[in-house]
């Protein structure tokens, strides 16, 4: 058993209102620089929709993630070690500017310098790459709220799973359903970007599992850009280096949640430590698609199990980390309640960002907006949902509808349970029956409700400990200082990121 700690995340999609505050917070902190304008380490997509970069989920085009070969070998979809050398000169799977958008700003000075006239002066958009006036054709969330549009939503690769009928129903006027999908780097446990990097610049931090790029080692070969199936690595066209979400590690190291977490208006985000067994990852990632979610859950370890605590000590995970893991909200959502699911587990990277699928667009199919409340038919309208379960299964469980249905039942049961408490218009026997069918106890339903609806800052973000003593220990002893072994002191670039000649 090789116990490792991972700072993991849960996004509760039922609470996401699609306000993009997270994206703006991230942009202002990290990517407001030349060459990084087009990067959205955090972005919020409307689903069904094509996402950012356009059609990032289409791995036939971008060839990201891992694939299982006939002989049950896990290999990168984008390259072999030999072919990676050919792709140094030209990578056919790298997304280009057209797949993102041309970043722009406005010439605000025009507002001041304009001659007096009858019309209001306007600030014309100019490209942030060339400085020329451009006609804006696309943006980072260009298909925001555009579910049902034939040029965006209908091209969503996940819709391939639906029947013709289901698709038509989904996009019918007055029946259109949609959901928001905020995305950041998943800080995967089996990252394909790390495996693809020819220079060895990408690495996973041992202590907390954050995936980072050593900017001094990166040579701009761009293999990671196509290897990441979530397209969460961006190439800085100015510095010639790749960049990605760093999970605000300078904040995390000082006990603060990342900027996007902190800014989240809907309080949809949870952060906590997960313990997992690194020895079991490879086998789990070779599971058949339908059982990938289950296989991934099995890699996660129970932080209260004495064997795991002993294993953690042997593997060098500190007591402080274990005690944080024991209070982790992420562990509860992912493993204890099995409510949170990985995004596209079929990419086989074992993402460490989990999503609670949204219940609201699921319900609401019944006439006049009144939901069925009798216990007999309580769960039956799951299968008549506006946003078909099969669509959610394509997103969160590699097509296994049973897993999504179970999650939905639990969420519905919690609501039913709370309605019985607060409105008191339901027979308690029926509540018990619904809870039983959803495999929940009343106590569990209560805690799910509390953490979901009332979670305080301390409960939502159970941050890993600040381990200054370890950094000091490393600097002095036979280990190595952060600057030496990671190429960074944790305070950002030591030199200004100047482009090479």
């Amino acid at each position: 058993m090789d116990v490792r700690a991972q700072v993991a995340m849960v996004f509760h999609l039922d609470k996401c209102i699609g306000c993009h505050t997270c994206s703006v917070a991230c942009k202002n902190v990290w990517t407001d620089r030349p060459g990084a304008e087009y990067m959205w380490w955090n972005n919020v997509e409307t689903k069904p929709g094509t996402g950012y970069p356009t059609l990032w989920e289409d791995q036939l085009n971008y060839r990201g993630g891992w694939e299982l070969t006939g002989r049950r070998d896990l290999r990168l979809r984008c390259q072999t070690k030999a072919s990676s050398f050919l792709k140094l000169f030209y990578n056919p799977n790298q997304p280009g500017l057209d797949d993102y958008y041309e970043p722009w700003t406005y010439r605000y000075q025009d507002l001041f310098d304009a001659d007096a006239g009858d019309d209001q002066p306007t600030a014309v958009p100019v490209s942030q790459i060339t400085g020329e006036v451009i006609d804006i054709k696309a943006g980072p969330n260009w298909d925001d709220d555009l579910s049902g549009s034939p040029i965006y939503a209908e091209n969503d690769p996940n819709l391939k799973q639906l029947t013709e009928d289901e698709r038509r129903m989904l996009f019918e006027i007055e029946n259109i359903a949609m959901m928001y999908l905020p995305r950041i780097c998943n800080h995967c446990a089996n990252p394909s970007c790390v495996a693809s990097c020819p220079s060895g610049a990408l690495y996973k931090r041992g202590e907390d599992g954050i995936v980072l790029i050593n900017q001094d080692k990166c040579r701009g070969w761009r293999a990671c850009v196509s290897a990441c199936p979530y397209k969460k690595i961006y190439y800085n066209w100015k510095t010639g280096k790749s960049e990605k979400c760093i999970l605000c590690y300078p904040r995390v190291e000082t006990g603060q949640p990342p900027a996007c977490f902190h800014a989240c208006v809907g309080r949809i985000r949870y952060m906590g430590v997960l313990l997992y067994d690194a020895d079991r990852i490879e086998e789990a990632m070779k599971a058949p698609e339908a059982s990938l979610v289950e296989a991934q859950r099995n890699v996660l370890l129970d932080p209260n199990d004495p064997d795991v605590i002993r294993g953690a000590a042997e593997s060098g995970v500190s007591e402080a980390f274990v005690s944080v893991a024991q209070r982790s909200p992420v562990y509860r959502y992912v493993k204890e309640w099995e409510l949170a699911l990985p995004l596209h587990p079929e990419f086989r990277t074992m993402p460490m960002l989990y999503y609670v699928p949204p219940l609201l667009p699921i319900s609401g199919r019944m006439g006049d907006g009144i939901y069925e409340h009798s216990a007999d038919q309580f769960f039956s309208h799951l299968d008549k949902a506006r946003l078909p379960l099969r669509y959610l299964a394509a997103l969160f469980s590699a097509g296994n509808e049973d897993i999504v249905r179970t999650v939905m039942k639990k969420q519905m049961a919690v609501r039913y349970f709370k309605r019985a408490q607060d409105v008191d218009d339901i027979d308690p026997e029926q509540v018990k029956r619904v809870l039983r069918e959803a495999h929940l106890t009343a106590e569990q339903a209560e805690t799910i409700y509390t953490l979901t609806a009332l979670g305080s800052l301390e409960n939502r973000y159970v941050m890993p400990p600040i381990q200054r003593e370890e950094a000091i220990e490393g600097a002095g002893g036979p280990g190595c200082s952060p600057e030496l072994c990671k190429g960074t002191c944790g305070l950002g670039a030591v030199q200004p990121p100047r482009r090479g000649a």
Binding site: P198, E473, G479
Partner: protein
């Protein structure tokens, strides 16, 4: 003077710049080492620029490197005209490919607004120099043919003389101006490497071929503990090796002891007690007796025209009597329903076992080895038996007590002579040599 600047001074400036400049840049400005790809901004023209350029220049570069590093081998190879023509053609083709790529890259850099925003003056200088250099190279290949042959006597010793710090201008003095220009531009390009994007050539990620797919870096104590398992693993494998070696050694030792024992015994001869010797001699005697008996039987069959089988009255129709026929094979003798003898070979036609003597209710005899039933009257095997050929019937002769042949029968069933029924019981059955010869 000009010569000594371009072929002695410039080379040392260029080499110093290459080594010191690249190292300094790596030490102090490591961030600036990058391939500086612009595929993100423009990819269609890049495909037709970058790929042919890199493919072409790598072939050309290797072609320039081998005569310099392995002049002996190269000279022996270029003594074959076919090799020279192939190499020159390949080189020129690669040079044209690289040229096409460069021109596309240059045009792309000039025309695309997006690429312009990431273009530095040095980029353009390097691109222009490379285009010029390739043009001069092609001109050299066309105007001063078979450079693959003459370079070994001229440029190779010149380069070595520069590298070994004993610059010798004699090798290049007499070269045509085109070639001299080619060499001078090469030194300028080398000089510019650390100041341009050309440094990315040093970043060729060879280590990717053998590194593990996942990289995890610890700063805390885990880092040290992480190394511990590696050491433990090494210790473990050493222990395993020792164990294995010990096991193999023991097995080998035992084997040697056994072999030595046998060898010693073989050469020193057996060492037996009197009882063992007696038992051994007894066995040998028995074997000799058996052989003698066999020889007797053979002799008897060689000398006599008739061999006694049995008295007719001893034979029964149900249980045969074994005897040995003229060919030393087992055979069986019965008495048929008419009272005459019936002789049949007992060597199964399948794999040669001896057939059992008793006759079952349907008149068959059985070979017990693989269950072949044979019809006693005809010798035919029962269909489905392993044996497919019939057991041959044997001829016989009946004699009275005085030795007169009363009646005889050939294997095919022809019978000669008559015998009164009362004399039948007293007659004796013989096999006859003449029938064997006809079989």
């Amino acid at each position: 003077m000009v010569n000594s600047f371009f072929f002695v001074g410039l080379p040392y400036i260029a080499l110093f710049s290459l080594v010191a400049g690249s190292l300094y840049r790596f030490k102090s400005e490591r961030f600036s080492y990058s391939a500086l790809s612009s595929q993100f901004l423009e990819s269609k023209k890049l495909l037709w620029g970058s790929v042919p350029w890199h493919a072409g220049i790598m072939i050309v570069f290797v072609g320039h490197l081998i005569p310099f590093l392995l002049p002996g081998l190269w000279q022996s190879l270029t003594s074959q005209p076919a090799f020279v023509i192939t190499v020159e053609l390949l080189g020129v083709a690669a040079a044209f490919t690289a040229l096409v790529g460069l021109v596309v890259l240059f045009v792309r850099r000039i025309l695309s607004r997006h690429i312009q925003s990431v273009t530095t003056p040095v980029d353009l200088v390097v691109l222009a120099l490379l285009i010029v250099q390739i043009l001069i190279g092609i001109q050299t290949a066309a105007g001063h043919r078979w450079g693959s042959m003459w370079s070994v006597q001229t440029t190779t010793p010149y380069l070595w003389s520069v590298l070994t710090l004993q610059p010798d201008l004699n090798h290049v003095d007499s070269l045509p101006p085109t070639v001299k220009l080619h060499i001078a531009v090469a030194w300028i390009i080398i000089m510019l490497v650390p100041f341009s994007r050309l440094v990315h050539a040093f970043s060729l990620p060879i280590q990717y071929l053998w590194r593990a797919p996942q990289q995890v870096i610890w700063t805390n104590a885990r880092r040290i503990r992480h190394i511990a398992p590696v050491i433990r693993k090494a210790e473990e494998s050493r222990r395993l090796f020792l164990k294995g070696a010990l096991g193999l050694g023991t097995a080998g030792g035992l084997l040697t002891v056994g072999v030595m024992d046998k060898l010693v015994r073989f050469f020193s001869g057996p060492n037996m007690t009197p009882e063992e010797q007696a038992a051994l001699l007894q066995k040998r005697l028995e074997r000799l007796e058996m052989t003698a008996e066999e020889r007797d039987l053979e002799l008897e069959r060689m000398r006599n025209d008739y061999i006694f089988v049995a008295n007719l009255k001893e034979l029964s129709p149900n249980d045969g009597k074994y005897f040995i026929d003229y060919q030393m094979r087992p055979a069986l003798a019965y008495r048929d329903t008419e009272g005459f003898p019936l002789l049949i070979s007992a060597k199964c036609t399948h794999l040669g076992c001896t057939v059992a003597s008793s006759v079952d209710a349907s008149g068959r005899i059985l070979c017990p080895c693989h269950i072949s039933y044979f019809d006693l009257k005809t010798g035919m095997p029962q269909p489905g038996s392993p044996a497919t050929k019939p057991l041959p019937l044997l001829g016989w002769a009946l004699m009275d007590t005085q030795g007169n042949i009363l009646v005889s029968q050939a294997p095919d069933g022809r019978r000669e002579g008559e015998v009164p029924a009362d004399k039948l019981d007293a007659s004796m059955v013989y096999i006859a040599k003449r029938y064997e010869e006809t079989v």
